[in-house]
Amino acid sequence: MIGIAAGGPVIPNFGGGSASFACERANRLFCAGWVSRNWDTVLWPALRQHIVLTVIAVAIGFVISTALALVAYRRNWLERPVLIVTSILYTIPSLALFELLQPSFGLSRTTAEIALVSYTLLIMFRNTLTGLREVPPEVRDAATGMGMGPTQSLLRVELPLAAPAIIAGLRIATVTVISLATVAALIDNEGLGVPILTAISNEVFKTELIVAGAMAVALAIGADALLVLAQRLITPWTRAR
């Protein structure tokens, strides 16, 4: 049953021997060698997955919260129930929410996305609704006076004026999701949380932890900047302030 190959196995000098890994063995703050060796296999895929996770969650959350806000804009009574539900979802700690979804949706991206979407709803719903409500009544009257129906007024006047608030909500939601998606790695083994958790289990391998953490922060700041840029493009009139 136990057979040993004649003469024993050939044991190569892995990676060139331990001398090539002095930085890793010492667990220094930043081992450039490790980063370049593992960029393609560990870091870049993690970043890519993280971006995908975020974009899907924010996009779906945006659609749902905008739809809810538009309906609540017309039917005021809807606001409070929506606020209550989204607030509760928002309050539940992410770890708990991921676990509560697990029996129904398994250890999959679906579970992660559902939880991440639910964290975007409160912020975006509230901001969109507030933004719409803050459109001055005179402007709405003017639009009606010009012959626009309610839908036209919405599309051509009210939504554009509410855009800064809507995008502010989008910014907060995006940055929040990017941060929370690191915990989602527990559920679907994807995203920048994977190298972070790996590093923790490796006697806290500092390089991997710091690089992955820094990438998450950079991603958040980058996404935020992109959205600010988008807002300036969409609402050029707000630039003069």
Binding site: S87, T91, P93, A96, R126, D224
Partner: protein, 241 residues
């Protein structure tokens, strides 16, 4: 859905598994979680509140105060905890340090915005009445700023409760997160039971702080409509955890 029934039975048994060695009770773990979170919040408020209040009072440091909030939102709490473990090791003091670092920014930002935003006329009137700077801060600006200040404290509190459970992922044991990490021993029903407890804990903390806020809000500011009840569930400047 059967697993949810089992989860409630697990809660009913106070976290014990029949046939297994005695585990720490849910009571104990919940109280421990509260204790760790409480210490973190307490220190964060003690540090952040005076800073935010003072900066707002003298109307200085707006760039720092606001941007520390923006950067903070981008920090993945999992990474911050892990970095704490990496450089300081495991142990309660180190977890508290990470929690405080994570909890302070929203308190500063909100306290700053709250005090800075008090109408100049009111402040001038108070000075005109002969109040010193400190008296103005304590008797006029602070009471008027309660809603926003508390929004920051509530954000922080929720954040700390949630991050305390995530701390179990970084090697720190002693909170409800431990059960979630040990599906092998507790089975999915136990993990769900712990998740339900965490969610309930967060909701209770939120409601308690909302009630404290209502008590402290000066009568003139209290708007007694249903709006009030709902906004006590949904704080103003918040981050999910």
């Amino acid at each position: 859905m059967n697993v949810f029934v089992e989860a409630f039975k697990f809660i009913g048994r106070n976290g014990q598994i029949p046939g297994a060695p005695p585990f720490p009770t849910l009571t104990h773990l919940t109280l421990e979680t509260l204790k760790i979170a409480g210490i973190g919040i307490g220190i964060a408020v003690a540090i952040g509140l005076p800073i935010g209040l003072w900066l707002g009072h003298v109307h200085r440091g707006s760039f720092a105060a606001i941007n520390v909030g923006n950067i903070w939102r981008a920090l993945p709490s999992l990474a911050v905890l892990a970095i704490g473990v990496a450089f300081l090791g495991l142990g309660l003091r180190n977890v508290e340090l990470a929690l405080v670092v994570l909890a302070v920014p929203p308190i500063i930002t909100n306290a700053y915005v709250a005090i800075d935003g008090v109408e100049r006329d009111v402040v001038d009137a108070a000075r005109g009445m002969g109040m010193t700077g400190l008296q103005v801060l304590l008797k006029v600006e602070l009471p008027l700023g309660i809603p926003l200040i508390f929004a920051g404290i509530r954000t922080s509190a929720l954040f700390v409760v949630s991050t305390t459970t995530i701390a179990a992922l970084t090697g720190y044991s002693g909170s409800l997160g431990d059960i979630i990490n040990n599906e092998t021993s507790y089975h999915l029903s136990g993990v769900l039971g712990a998740a339900i407890c965490i969610a309930a804990l967060a909701l209770v903390v939120e409601l308690v702080l909302a009630m404290v806020q209502r008590l402290l809000t000066p009568k003139g500011l209290k708007v007694s409509t249903a709006e009030d009840t709902v906004s006590s569930l949904a704080p103003v400047v918040t981050e999910p955890t």
